[in-house]
Structures are given as structure tokens and as C-alpha cells.
């Protein structure tokens, strides 16, 4: 007989959860109202009842790789109906933050972002200081003047004269490489832990496609009863970022089309900055509008006192939300101020934008941003577990029919 698993409650984890606002888990008396009202919980492994108990006991090993944490979209249907006001939705939210920290590589960065309540000035300030120092060392922080040769649609000056594109390429490419490494390690850690929660069947990529399709429409989020506002806000922000990323992605081949596509017999007019009527500019601007709308909706859903419906907003959530909002705001302002304000003001905002984007990038594997990766992984995992169950049933019926 296999030895009985010995429970290892962690007082440290329980203390940490309580400090971060998940103390309400203690009130749970395991009636499972939450699991029954949850629209998202899989039938075979309903949440969040069990996770509440594990949180009460501080059983971190079981919790940190639990797919339930990521399958939960924090609709807060459970918060609304919990008879003991144990706020399961909020508890899972805090458990997710704890999981991000536990999965982080290197772990000190996880702790740094995990304790964002104290460290946020550092996280926001350091990238800006970095850019100031970098510019001081390279261009001497040269602020360009108004260029009278440029037409009205092109704008009065080039940001490239303030920050050479080469610097942007170097900084963000290196950052992206680093983030990829860190996210890869964190993702692998989670994937391995998820593996202990159910046998999988099928290939990862075969299930990644339906998962991504599901995410693209937020179909799962739509099943949430209590928070439709958040669903639309989240959908808009997600697609806005996709649009912005596509714009940036297409911009590089566009800028270097002379050298990249020299073998094509095309007439290349030199028009940089892009005029306002250029399709790429359009794509970028539409994305910006969608981002602003989405950001506003998300912001609105978090306004007001933390009632059961919207759940609480922890420092961890606030940091990510404000970073995203700041990226959107400084991005939009950067574009507008080039036309509306003196170059020194526009350049200051641009500098802030570059800094805050760097913050968003670097903290990706350690902040709430990581849910992009972890939730996707959990959804793929769940699809593979479902497939395994189906395969099991099928083979069983085949056996029986034989």
C-alpha cells in the first residue's frame, strides 16, 4: 500500500495570504456553494471549494500548481453567493498572485514584484532613470527643435532625433530575450506542476489552437455572471495590445523596406514619420482608441468600494492595471503632444512612455501580466485532461462493445 500523504501546512504561507487579504478564507465552512454556482469550474474538479480549504490549511504544494487558480476568471459569482462572506473569488485572486511569485525565475524578482506595495516606486522609476542615463551617455539628452521642412500631417519633429531607433531596438530586443527566458522557465515550472493535477492526452499544440481561439473571443469570460463590464474591458485591452504589437511589428520592415525589399521593383517614398493617413498609422490609432476604451472600462469596474461583485483590488492588481493604463495614456499623449506641445514636453512624455513600457515588459513574468501565459497554459492543460477523460471513456466503451 502506498504511504498516506502527510499534510505539510505552511504557517508562513497562511500568514502571507492573510497579510495580502485572503484571511477571509478562514471563514469558509466548506458548504461548496461556490463550486456549485461557478460557471467555469470543470465538473470533475470543481473549484474554488477545495482551494479555500487548502488555503486555510496553508497547503502550498497542492495549491501552487493547481489549474483551478488559472481557470478561475474572478467573475465573483461565488463572492456574491457565499453564505459566510469568505470571498472565494478574492482568495483565488490572491492565490494567483502568490503562485506567480512562487513560479518566478529568478525568485528574487518574483519577490520584488510580489511585494509591489513597497517596491513600486523602484519598479516604475528605475526604467525611466535607465533611459535618462542611457540617453545622457549617447545623445547627451538632446531635445530636437521644430523642423520647418516637415509637412503638417507629418508633425513638427521626429522622436527619432530624441531617441535613436537603434537604442530602442537594442534595449527592447535584449529585454524581450530576457523576458522570454524567464517566462519559459516559469511556464515550464507551472506546466510540470499542472501535470500532477490530472493525466493529459494529445499534443500541446493541437490544444493550444482551441485555447487561443477561446481566448480571442473571451468565450469563457462571457459565462461569468457578475462581471460583464470586466469582460468587455479585458477583451478591448487585449485586442488593443494585439493591434499595437502588430503595428510595431510591421513598422520595422516598413522602416527598413529600402534595404529589406531592394530586390522588389517597388517605388519607395521616404515618408517618416508616417503621415496620419497611412494605413499603419490607422491601425495604431484604432488600437489606441480600443485600448483607451478597454482601459477605461477596466478602471471603472475597479472604482468604488470593494464590494463582493467587483472583488478587492490588491496592490498586485493595481500595479499591473496602472502600468497598462500608464502605457496607454503615455502612448496616446506621446503621439498627440508631438503636434500640440513644444518638443521638450512631448519628449518628456515620450521618455516616460519608454520607461513604463520597459516596466511592463520586464515585469511580465512576475506581475499580473503573467496570467497571459499561465492562464493559457492552464486552459491547454484542461483541454488535454478533458481529452484524456474522453479517450478513457471511449476506450472503455470500445472494450465494452467488444
Amino acid at each position: 500500500m502506498a504511504p498516506i500523504p502527510v499534510l505539510a501546512p505552511s504557517p508562513a504561507l497562511r500568514r502571507m495570504l492573510a497579510e495580502r487579504g485572503a484571511g477571509s478564507a478562514a471563514r469558509c465552512y466548506q458548504c461548496a456553494t461556490c463550486s456549485s454556482v461557478c460557471e467555469l469550474a470543470p465538473e470533475a474538479a470543481p473549484f474554488p471549494r477545495r482551494q479555500m480549504l487548502l488555503a486555510q490549511w496553508g497547503l502550498g504544494e497542492q495549491l501552487m500548481g493547481d489549474p483551478a487558480l488559472w481557470l478561475c476568471h474572478q467573475c465573483n459569482d461565488c463572492n456574491e453567493r457565499c453564505p459566510r462572506d469568505a470571498q472565494p473569488g478574492d482568495v483565488l485572486q490572491i492565490l494567483r498572485a502568490a503562485a506567480v511569485e512562487a513560479l518566478a525565475f529568478p525568485s528574487f524578482l518574483g519577490r520584488l514584484v510580489g511585494n509591489v506595495r513597497a517596491t513600486w516606486p523602484f519598479l516604475v522609476g528605475l526604467p525611466i532613470v535607465f533611459w535618462i542615463v542611457l540617453l545622457a551617455a549617447t545623445t547627451g539628452l538632446h531635445v530636437p527643435g521644430v523642423n520647418p521642412e516637415l509637412s503638417g500631417l507629418e508633425g513638427p519633429f521626429h522622436y527619432q532625433e530624441f531617441v535613436p531607433h537603434a537604442l530602442i531596438y537594442i534595449v527592447y530586443t535584449l529585454t524581450a530575450l530576457w523576458v522570454l527566458v524567464a517566462a519559459w522557465v516559469g511556464g515550464r515550472r507551472l506546466w510540470n506542476r499542472l501535470g500532477q493535477h490530472g493525466a493529459r492526452h494529445g499534443s500541446f499544440f493541437a490544444k493550444l489552437i482551441p485555447a487561443v481561439l477561446e481566448i480571442s473571443t473571451h468565450r469563457r469570460f462571457a459565462r461569468c455572471g457578475e462581471s460583464s463590464l470586466r469582460r468587455w474591458g479585458h477583451l478591448a485591452v487585449m485586442w488593443g495590445f494585439v493591434g499595437a504589437a502588430v503595428t510595431s511589428g510591421l513598422l520595422i520592415p516598413y522602416l527598413y523596406r529600402d534595404s529589406l525589399f531592394s530586390w522588389l521593383p517597388l517605388p519607395f517614398a521616404h515618408d517618416y514619420p508616417l503621415p496620419l493617413d497611412h494605413p499603419l498609422k490607422w491601425l495604431g490609432n484604432v488600437s489606441a482608441v480600443v485600448l483607451v476604451i478597454g482601459g477605461a472600462l477596466l478602471w471603472k469596474s475597479r472604482l468604488g468600494p470593494a464590494d463582493r461583485r467587483s472583488g478587492q483590488t490588491t496592490a498586485f492588481d493595481r500595479f499591473f492595471l496602472w502600468t497598462v493604463l500608464a502605457v496607454i495614456a503615455t502612448g496616446v499623449l506621446t503621439e498627440a503632444l508631438r503636434f500640440l506641445a513644444p518638443p521638450v514636453v512631448a519628449c518628456t512624455v515620450y521618455l516616460a512612455h519608454l520607461g513604463i513600457v520597459l516596466t511592463l515588459f520586464v515585469t511580465f513574468p512576475y506581475s499580473k501580466f503573467a496570467h497571459l501565459l499561465y492562464r493559457t497554459l492552464a486552459m491547454v492543460h484542461q483541454l488535454m485532461v478533458d481529452a484524456a477523460t474522453q479517450a478513457g471513456v471511449q476506450s472503455k466503451t470500445e472494450e465494452e462493445s467488444r
Binding site: 501546512p9 504557517p11 478562514a26 471563514r27 466548506q30 480549504l53 486555510q56
Partner: protein, 749 residues
């Protein structure tokens, strides 16, 4: 009674539905000289008319033919006395509300009921009121939470109280607790123990005498006149008491029987009471090495709700564990407490306490069954089917077993059985019986020396127990009542409960005791026939010493002399009449309720000849449940079978089989007895009344067969009060069964 008056009320539609002139005539035909019809008997004019008629005709029997005896009781009861009998005929409920108006069968029913009422009055005798010297003192046995509250209550009502406590001090188990469960809003924290204050208050009460290290050597007599002999270390003293409150409490379940939970295997497995002693000393430590534990696992329901141990829930252990967890947090905040429960039961407002303790950090709780506690070097609690997984173990430094409570009662019936078996084993003439008795005595040997009250009652020295050793009787409706009149059970002796409930119990039982003393002084019965003033008369010259009455009396009213002749204690009697039903010689009669009386009522019915095809059924309805059910059905205008004639009986246990013979020999087609439910969840006010009736009828079946009558002509039906909707179906079905059997062949003989 010989001078009877029939008073017919024509109100409530009775006059419209019935020919009251014909009813009047039927009464006069039975020899009643005074009759009177009034449009509203219950109004002052009606009552005055009755008084005038009684005075002018020197009547000693009044037959009110109006509504049910359960209606307008206050208006009419004032008319009767020990010299003047009064009986009510229910023309409203039993006739016009439940039968078609103006029908000949309805009319026949009304006339029959009046004849039967007159027959009853004819057999009613005047009686003398009981007058005895009655002691005021209330004896409280046990000085715990319930006992002290009982003492305080009785004393406050002006009664001298004597508290007899077995231990060296009063205060009971509660006094040993470091704190108590919250009793005041917001109910989320343990409260300081109030027992020192309560003890001081009771000790300072000049009305209360406290005897510690004392036991009861003997109690003789009856309510109002108990002779109590108390033995203390130094001396024996005797005093009189009017009523007794037994509040001997409960003791923890013996944890030595819980070896699977590690008790005995490790000194670090303790009971909740052993932990309490530690907490009271301000310590949280492992008994093995006096170190502070890192983690304590509390195991709830240790031996409770377990058919192998205590099958019941002790009701307060969950809350007590929460309190102990809170105390552990206070004394040693670093200690982690884990609670494993079957169900967390925190009745009432203690829910807030549960929330309060849950909210404190360092407390973990899960539902689960504890398969075992392993104690080899370190302690490991093995959980099965817990919410944390089917199989899981948790290591711990200290295990606390929340053990349930076992009532400190003595099973009077078993003790008597033991003594009887011992005697028979010595004296019986048959070798087989001596052997059998010796074996029985061996089986009951555990009860040796367990006596608490030492009553000199024929049915045993202590209260009979109901289930699991709790001496409760009327567990459905009447708390504190026991099966010994004037002795009331309170606190954890009566049922598992917490301290608040125990205090309430003490107060309630004391009020009952005080009530009992007052009733004894007036010579009246206590509940359920409260206010009843007649007592049965035993015509002992005809007694055959069969001992059925002394055995069957549910309240131990009768003792026996050397020869086995019953000795009646009027103040113990509850007037149920079970003795009257039990006596084969029919020597037991109340002045207003007797075998002869019911037989005469049966005789008074007119039984139509066979060819008329109008069967007759006698329905004997228990006055406690079935009769009220009939009234409830009538109030809903349920139509009843017209062949049925209802005779209310005090209890089906008072049913004498002679009545069957009387009815069937007169050509009545069947007798149906409707009484309370019996068995484990009995609803009989007198415990076994309906069951006894059923047993007696089992015996009568053979006799009927010898007379060429179907045993099915007599039937017992169990019916509870709220099943009033069934009553018409029960009667109709029975009538149909009788029709199938055909008419009684003895008709017309």
C-alpha cells in the same frame, strides 16, 4: 349521581340541524326529570339558567349538550364540584359539524350521545377532596450549573431548598473551566466563568442549605411528602421535601475505550477535559516532556455519533473545542490548532463564536473521519474521507479528544430487575428459573450500587431511563417531566446540552417542582391531567395480588406490601387510569371514571335490529391526541361515519377488555380504539398506554374466536394529533371492513 339535568344548547346551528325536542324526549325516557333548551348556554344567561335549574331541582349531575368539552371549558367547569358531576356531550363537533343536518342517522347519533352522557353521570360518584400536610422544601440533587439555577429559582419563589452534592464543593464541571462559551452579544469570544459568582450567591442564600460530600440514603413517600434521608460524612439527617429536582449532570465518556485514537498509547493524547485542566492552570504543554507543542489536533466526536461508543451527539463539544482553541491562542499564540470534525455543530448564536474563532489565525479546520492516531515516537493523525483527500495524515505534537457526555443517571428499572433476579435466584422453587435468574443477575451486575435517589418505590430506586441512559419521559412536548411524579430531571442528566441550556433547564425544572408542591397542596394532579382532583379507589378486599397494576403504572404510584397487595400513593398518581385497565378483577374505579361507567355508556346506546342495516361501532378515543384530532377534523367540517359512537377514554391504557365483551354481546358490530403512537418514538402521555391496550387486545382475540366472533371486530389504530385528516378515512375503512364481515351475529340476543 341520581338527580340529573340535561341542558340542550340550540346555538351554533345545533337547533337548526337537530330536532332538539326529540333529543329532550330521549333524555326524559331515560328518567331525567329536568331538561332545558337554551339558545346560548355558554353566555351568562345560559349559565344562570343552569345554576337556577341545579338549585331548584337540587341536581347533582349536569349534562351539557352543546360543544366539545375542549371548547368553553372555562365557562362550564365552574359549575362542577366534588358533589356535582358535570359532563359534556359534543352535539356541535361530533354531530352537526360532521354529519348531514336533519338526517335520521344524525338525529339517532345525537340521542345516543345524550343517553350515553346520562349513563356516565349516573355512574359518577361524589368524592372527598384530598387534604394532606404538604412540605414546601425543594430537594435539589446535584450542585452543578442546572442544580444551582434550580436552587436559586425555587428559593426566589419562597421555597426552602436543600442541595445535596456528592462532591466536596458545589459548582459542578463548569466551575473547573477556565472560561465559558459566549452567552452575550456579540457571541464571538469566550466569557469569564460566572460560576464563582453563582456559587457565592447560592451559598449566601439563607433559604438554601447545601450539603456537600453527601448522598441520599433513602427517599420514601410521595410528592409533597417525600421523606428524604441524606448521609454525609459525619451523620445522617432526615427531612421532608415537597418535590425533587435531579440535576446530577453528566461525566465525560471514558477515553480508555478509544484506543484507536491513541488514548493510552501516548501521554500526549488527552481528553478535552484534561486539556481544560491545563488551560485552567494557564499552560499549553505536552504531558510527556512539558514542552510547548507546535501543533494541536483536536478530534471532534471522539467516540460520539458512533454506534460502537456513544450513538448520540453531545451537542456542546464543538463549541467547547472552539473555546479551547481560543484559549490556546490566548495562552500560547504560536501554537497551531487543527480541528477535524464530522460536522461542526454550533447551535443558535454560537455560530457567531464559530466565525470569531475561525477568523483568528493559526486555526485550521476540516471535515473528516479519523481512521486512527499513530503514536510511535511522534503523533500522526490519519484521516479518511476528509475534505483534504481520501487518505491524508497530519503530524502533531498533541492530540485532544473531544469526548461526549454520559448522563450521571441510574437505571431504576434495571436496578430493580437486578434485585428481583438475585432474590429469585435464591428463592425460586424451579431449578431452571434459579439458573435463569442468576444469569440475568450476572448480566445486570453493572447496575450494582449505582443508586442515586434510592427511592422506596416498587418499580425501582431511581428514575427509569428512556434512551442512552437519559431519564426523560415526555420528550416530545414536556421537558423536565420524568416517570416519577414530583421528580424533575434537569441539565445534562436530561439531555446533552451546554451551560446556557442547563441553566434554563434548572430554572424550568424548579418551576415544575414548585408547581407540583402547589398542586399537592390543593390535592390536584399535575400535568397532563392538571387540576384533576379525583383519585382511584382500590376495592382491596377483592384484590388477588396479581400485581398487574403495580407493574403497569407508568409512574410507580403503587408500592406493594409483603403479600403483594398494592399500596396506593394518591399524590404520585397522574389519573391516567392504566390501573383500571390492567385489573382483571375490576376493583379500581375513579369516582368519575370506571369500568362500570363505560360499560353502562355502551349499554345506553340503542342498537338497531339486523334488518335495519344500521351497524353500530364504538370508538374509544384517547383524550390526549385522538379526541382533539376529532375536534380538529370537525372544525374543518370533515364528514364522519354515522354508525360510530365515540367514548373518550383517559388513555388507551385504561381500556378494560370487559368493554369489548360488553359491546359485542349487545350486538354492536365493532370496537375501534384510537390512541397515540407507540414504540421508540412514542407519543403517549403515559408512555405505554396505547401499547398496553394493544397487548391486552392480543389476548382478547382468542376469547372472541371462541364466541364465534371475528377477532378483527376489535382494532387499535395509532393516530397522532396532527393526523386529524386521517380520522374520517380510518373510521370509514373500519366500517367497510365490518360490513365485509357482516353484522354481529349476537345482535338481538
Amino acid at each position: 349521581m341520581d338527580k340529573l339535568g340535561v341542558f340542550l344548547c340550540s346555538g351554533c346551528g345545533i337547533g337548526d340541524a337537530l330536532d332538539l325536542g326529540a333529543v329532550d324526549k330521549a333524555a326524559r325516557e331515560r328518567g331525567c326529570k329536568t331538561t332545558l333548551t337554551n339558545p346560548c348556554l355558554c353566555a351568562e344567561e345560559g349559565l344562570q339558567a343552569i345554576r337556577d335549574a341545579v338549585a331548584s331541582g337540587s341536581l347533582n349531575g349536569i349534562l351539557i349538550c352543546a360543544c366539545s368539552e375542549r371548547a368553553k371549558a372555562q365557562a362550564f367547569d365552574g359549575l362542577k364540584s366534588n358533589e356535582i358531576g358535570l359532563y359534556r356531550v359534543s352535539l356541535r363537533e361530533q354531530v352537526i359539524w360532521t354529519h348531514p343536518a336533519g338526517h335520521e342517522d344524525t338525529q339517532a347519533l345525537a340521542e345516543d350521545l345524550v343517553r350515553m352522557g346520562l349513563a356516565r353521570l349516573e355512574k359518577t360518584k361524589p368524592f372527598k377532596l384530598l387534604e394532606d400536610s404538604i412540605a414546601d422544601t425543594v430537594l435539589v440533587v446535584g450542585g452543578g450549573r442546572a442544580g444551582l439555577e434550580a436552587a436559586r429559582t425555587a428559593s426566589a419563589l419562597g421555597h426552602p431548598v436543600i442541595v445535596v452534592e456528592k462532591g466536596d464543593r458545589i459548582g459542578g464541571r463548569l466551575a473547573a473551566q477556565v472560561s465559558i462559551l459566549p452567552e452575550r452579544p456579540p457571541y464571538d469570544q469566550p466569557q469569564p466563568n460566572p460560576m464563582p459568582g453563582l456559587i457565592a450567591a447560592v451559598e449566601a442564600d439563607a433559604n438554601v442549605t447545601i450539603l456537600t460530600a453527601a448522598s441520599i440514603a433513602k427517599i420514601t413517600g410521595q410528592p409533597g411528602q417525600f421523606e428524604v434521608c441524606v448521609a454525609t460524612a459525619s451523620a445522617e439527617q432526615t427531612f421532608r421535601a415537597g418535590a425533587i429536582v435531579q440535576a446530577t449532570g453528566a461525566r465525560p465518556y471514558d477515553a480508555r475505550k478509544l484506543a484507536h485514537l491513541g488514548y493510552g498509547a501516548s501521554p500526549d493524547v488527552v481528553t478535552s477535559h484534561e486539556l481544560e485542566a491545563m488551560l485552567a492552570a494557564g499552560k499549553v504543554e505536552r504531558p510527556s516532556d512539558h514542552s510547548t507543542p507546535n501543533r494541536i489536533v483536536f478530534i471532534q466526536c471522539a467516540g460520539s455519533r458512533d454506534p460502537q461508543h456513544l450513538p448520540y451527539c453531545s451537542s456542546e463539544c464543538c463549541s467547547q473545542t472552539l473555546r479551547q482553541v481560543a484559549e490556546v491562542r490566548r495562552i500560547a499564540p504560536a501554537v497551531e490548532s487543527a480541528v477535524v470534525y464530522k460536522d461542526m455543530r454550533t447551535p443558535g448564536l454560537l455560530e457567531h463564536f464559530y466565525l470569531g474563532v475561525q477568523a483568528s489565525s493559526g486555526v485550521m479546520m476540516t471535515r473528516g473521519e479519523v481512521a486512527k492516531v499513530e503514536a510511535n515516537g511522534k503523533l500522526s493523525v490519519h484521516l479518511s474521507s476528509s475534505l483534504l483527500g481520501d487518505q491524508a495524515a497530519i503530524d502533531t505534537d498533541l492530540v485532544v479528544l473531544a469526548v461526549g457526555m454520559v448522563p450521571n443517571s441510574a437505571d431504576g428499572v434495571a436496578i430493580r430487575a437486578l434485585h428481583d433476579a438475585r432474590t429469585r435466584a435464591q428463592t425460586s422453587e424451579s431449578e431452571a428459573q434459579r439458573k435463569e435468574s442468576a444469569e440475568l443477575a450476572e448480566k445486570l451486575a453493572d447496575h450494582e450500587g449505582t443508586e442515586i435517589l434510592n427511592l422506596e418505590y416498587r418499580q425501582g430506586p431511581d428514575l427509569p431511563t428512556l434512551r442512552y441512559g437519559f431519564p426523560d419521559s415526555h420528550f416530545i412536548c414536556f421537558p423536565y417531566e420524568t416517570r416519577r411524579t414530583g421528580i424533575y430531571a434537569a441539565g445534562t442528566l436530561r439531555a446533552p446540552m451546554d451551560a446556557v441550556e442547563a441553566a434554563e433547564d434548572g430554572c424550568g425544572a424548579a418551576l415544575k417542582a414548585v408547581q407540583c408542591v402547589a398542586a399537592a397542596r390543593r390535592g390536584e394532579a399535575v400535568h397532563p391531567r392538571a387540576g384533576e382532583r379525583t383519585v382511584p379507589d382500590f376495592a382491596l378486599q377483592r384484590c388477588t395480588q396479581c400485581k398487574r397494576c403495580t407493574e403497569e403504572c407508568p409512574f410507580g404510584t403503587l408500592n406493594e406490601d409483603q403479600k403483594g397487595t398494592p399500596q396506593f400513593y394518591s399524590l404520585r398518581c397522574r389519573r391516567c387510569g392504566i390501573c383500571l385497565g390492567s385489573c382483571p378483577e375490576r376493583i379500581v374505579s375513579f369516582p368519575d371514571y370506571s369500568v362500570d361507567m363505560v360499560a353502562t355508556m355502551i349499554k345506553a346506546m340503542k342498537v338497531p335490529e339486523d334488518f335495519e342495516e344500521k351497524p353500530r361501532i364504538v370508538a374509544m378515543l384517547c383524550e390526549n391526541d385522538a379526541y382533539p384530532a376529532l375536534d380538529a377534523a370537525a372544525a374543518r367540517r370533515v364528514q364522519l361515519n354515522p354508525w360510530v359512537r365515540v367514548i373518550p377514554v383517559r388513555c388507551l391504557g385504561s381500556f378494560n377488555i370487559v368493554w369489548v365483551a360488553e359491546a359485542l354481546s349487545r350486538g354492536i358490530d365493532g370496537v375501534i380504539l384510537i390512541g397515540c403512537k407507540y414504540g421508540d418514538d412514542y407519543q403517549c402521555h403515559y408512555m405505554h398506554g396505547s401499547e398496553l391496550a394493544n397487548t391486552r387486545l392480543g389476548n382478547v382475540g382468542e376469547t372472541l374466536q371462541r364466541l364465534a366472533l371475528e377477532p378483527e371486530r376489535v382494532k387499535v389504530v395509532e393516530l397522532s394529533h396532527e393526523e386529524f385528516h386521517r380520522i374520517s378515512t380510518v373510521l370509514d375503512e373500519y366500517a367497510a371492513e365490518l360490513e365485509e364481515m357482516g353484522p354481529n351475529p349476537l345482535k338481538g340476543f
